[in-house]
Symmetry: C2
C-alpha cells in the first residue's frame, strides 16, 4: 500500500511474546539524527512511555521510535517507568544511538507490568534485523483492535512523507492523538516541523472520536531526517495536513464495531470553539450513533445533541438547519414526514455526512466518528478476559 518510502529509515517489527504470538514490538530508526516533533495525550493517567517521550523530544531531535503493543504500561507506578527506561537503553545500545534520541510508545491493556524477560530477549541482536522499506510491516505491528493497518505516503519534491496510525477504541484524542508516526526525508527545521504537526493534528486527530474515551497512550510524532534536502514548505505543510486528515478518518471508519463513518460539519457558528463543541456533541451522542447504525432517520436526536451544548453556547433553534448529505430535515422547523424517505435511502451509505448550520456567524468545524453497534459492545465486554 505504500508507493514510496523516505530515504534513511530502517524498521524491525517482530514478536517478542508480550501477550501472544502476533507482532508486538517495532523499532523505526533513522540513519542520522532527525528533526522531530511530537504531541501527547492530556490524560493524567498517562503511560510511562509518555513521560519518557516528553523528555526525549524536548530538544527537537530524535533518531528512533520504539513501540510495543499488547500492554500500555499505564498505572504501573515506578516499576513501569523503570521498565520503559530499560527498554529504551537496551535498544539504544543495540543500535549504537543516544538513548535520549529514542521516543518510546506502549499501547494495550492498562494496569499490568511489561513482561521484561521476554522483551530483553527480543531486543538482543535487533540491529541485525533492521531493514529498509519495511514501514508497512510497522503499520501492521502497532495495531491492537484495528482490523487493518493505516498508512499513507506522498512525494513532496524530492522528498517522501509516510504516515502510519493505529487506534480504533478509547478514541477521543485531546490535543494529541492515538499512536501515529510520520517519517520523511525532507529537510525541515525543528520549530517549523512542530508548528506543522500542531496545525495538522488540530484539524485531524483532534477532530476524531470513536467513543469519547481519551486514551492514556496517545502519541503523534514525526521525524524529518533531511536526506532528501530542502522542499517547498507550503507543499509539505499541506501534504502533512492532508495525510493526517486521511489517517484520522481511517481510524474513525475502523472504529471498534463500526459499520459507518460519520462526518459532522457545523457551519455558521460564532466561533471555531462553538462549532467544534456542537459537532463533537453530535458525533458523540450514543443516540445519534445508534440511529445511524439502524439507518433510522431520527434527526430529532441531532437537534437534541445540538441543544445540549448549553454552556457558553447560545443556540437559537429557529436559526438552526440540519441536513443529511444534500437532504434537509430541519430548517428552523421540521419538514414534512414524506421527505424523510430520501433520508432513509441516504442512510444506507457507508459514509454519512451531517451538515448543520447554526445561523450565528462565520466559523465552522468538521469532525469524524462512527456508529455505535452491538459489535462495539461485544469487543469491549470481554477485552481482558
Amino acid at each position: 500500500m505504500l508507493d514510496e518510502q523516505p530515504r534513511g529509515f530502517r524498521t524491525c517489527a517482530k514478536n517478542v511474546g508480550i501477550k501472544d504470538t502476533t507482532l508486538d514490538f517495532t523499532v523505526i530508526a533513522s540513519e542520522v539524527p532527525a528533526s522531530a516533533a511530537a504531541m501527547f495525550t492530556q490524560n493524567r493517567f498517562c503511560g510511562a512511555a509518555i513521560h519518557v517521550g516528553r523528555e526525549h523530544v524536548a530538544n527537537k531531535q530524535l533518531q528512533a521510535f520504539v513501540i510495543n503493543s499488547k500492554n500500555a504500561n499505564v498505572a504501573t507506578g515506578e516499576q513501569g517507568l523503570a521498565n520503559i527506561r530499560e527498554v529504551v537503553r537496551l535498544v539504544a545500545e543495540e543500535l549504537a544511538i543516544a538513548p535520549d534520541n529514542i521516543l518510546p510508545s506502549s499501547t494495550g491493556v492498562i494496569g499490568r507490568q511489561l513482561p521484561m524477560p521476554q522483551i530483553r530477549q527480543g531486543i538482543r541482536g535487533i540491529a541485525q534485523e533492521m531493514r529498509s522499506g519495511q514501514l508497512e510491516r510497522a503499520a501492521r505491528a502497532i495495531m491492537t483492535t484495528d482490523t487493518h493497518p493505516k498508512m499513507r505516503s506522498c512525494r513532496i519534491g524530492d522528498a517522501v512523507l509516510v504516515g502510519i496510525a493505529k487506534g480504533v477504541g478509547m478514541i477521543e484524542p485531546n490535543m494529541a492523538t492515538m499512536l501515529s508516526y510520520f517519517m520523511t526525508d525532507a529537510q525541515i527545521e525543528p520549530e517549523l516541523l512542530h508548528q506543522y504537526l500542531q496545525e495538522a493534528v488540530n484539524i485531524s486527530f483532534n477532530m476524531v472520536s470513536v467513543d469519547t474515551d481519551t486514551s492514556t497512550s496517545d502519541t503523534v510524532a514525526i521525524m524529518a531526517n533531511g536526506l532528501a534536502g530542502h522542499v517547498d514548505h507550503e507543499a509539505f505543510r499541506q501534504a502533512l495536513q492532508r495525510m493526517a486528515v486521511e489517517l484520522a478518518k481511517e481510524l474513525a471508519r475502523d472504529g471498534e464495531g463500526a459499520t459507518k463513518l460519520i462526518e459532522v460539519t457545523v457551519a455558521d457558528a460564532e466561533s471555531f470553539v462553538q462549532a467544534k463543541r456542537v459537532a463533537k456533541s453530535v458525533v458523540n451522542s450514543p443516540l445519534v450513533k445508534t440511529a445511524i447504525f439502524g439507518e433510522d432517520p431520527n434527526w430529532g436526536r441531532i437537534a437534541m445533541a445540538i441543544g445540549k451544548c448549553e454552556e457558553q453556547t447560545a443556540i437559537v433553534p429557529e436559526k438552526v438547519s440540519i441536513a443529511f448529505g444534500d437532504v434537509p430535515v430541519y430548517l428552523g422547523q421540521p419538514l414534512r414526514d414524506e421527505d424523510l424517505a430520501h433520508v432513509k435511502t441516504y442512510l444506507s451509505n457507508a459514509e454519512i455526512c451531517i451538515h448543520i448550520s447554526l445561523g450565528l456567524g462565520n466559523a465552522s468545524a468538521r469532525v469524524w466518528g462512527c456508529d455505535l453497534t452491538d459489535e462495539y459492545v461485544a469487543i469491549n465486554g470481554k477485552y481482558t478476559t
Copy 2:
C-alpha cells in the same frame, strides 16, 4: 405499589391515540391550587411544553400536571407552541381551573407535530374521568421505553408525599431531570418548596446518566396542596431527598438495555465539582460500561476515565485508589493479578459500586448509571422506524 396517596389529588390516565393504543395522556389535578416548584432541562432545543411550564410555574402556584407521552413536541416551531397552549386551555376549561395553573409536559419522539384532532377528542369530557387514588396509573401512563413504572410514597406526620418518574434513555439531566412529579398534601410555603426541590434534584436526578444525552423534555415538578396541614420541615426535606434519590436510581437501573446498576463514589476530592466531574466521567465511559456488562475486571479503564478529566482537575495518579465494592484494585500502583479473581466474582452482582479516592481533599460525590449492552443498541437503532 403505593401504600398511601395524598389527599385532594385526582387523576386521569388514558389513551387518546397519539401513536398507538397504549396510555399516552395523563392529567393529575389538585382540588385546590397548590404551592408548586419545578425545574427544567437546560437543553436549548427544549420542548414547547417546557416554555409554557416555565411561564406557568413562575408564580409558584399550580393546580394540575398534564402529560402526554409518545410525542415530545420538540423542534416543532410556532405550531408546536400553539398546539400545547391549546391542550392546556382545553384541559383548563374541562376542569374549570385557570390555564396558567397547569404545567404541561410532552415526552416521546422529537420533530413531529402533536396529532391535535385525536387529542381534542380525548380531552372532551375528561372531568368525568378524574379519579382519586390513581397515581399508580399515572406512573404507568408517562412511560416510554421504561420497562416498569417508578413511584414512591411516604408519610411525613399527617401528610403523604408521592413521587413518580420516567425516563431510561436520553438521560443525563443537567440542572433538571427527566419527567418526575411529586404530589403532597403537606403545607409548605412556595419558597421553601422550591429550595427543597433544588436540593433534592442536585443529589439525585442531576447525578444520574444513562447515556450522556440530555433530554429536551426534562421536567421535575412538585405540588403541595396543604390539605394535611403543617408538617415538620426537616422531616419533609429529608423525605423528599430520599425519595428523589430512590427514583433516580430506579431510572438508572432501568436504563435502556441495562443489566446492572453502577454506583460511582468519588471521595477525598478537592471540591464537589471535581468529585462530580470525575464520577460522571467514570459512569459515562463506554469502555467502563461495556466492561461491567461483560463482567470483565478491566479496572484500567476506570483509571483512564479518571485521568481524562484533565480540565481544572489536578489528578495525581500516585494518590488515587480504586476499589470494586470492598475489593481494592489500585492503590497508587496496581495490585497483583491474583487479586483480580475477587473482582471477577464481585462483578456478577446486579449492583456494582465503584469507590474512588483522589487523595486530594475532603469533598465527595456519588452518581448512578448503568452498563452499556447490545440491547441498548438494538432499542435505539430502530426507534422511529
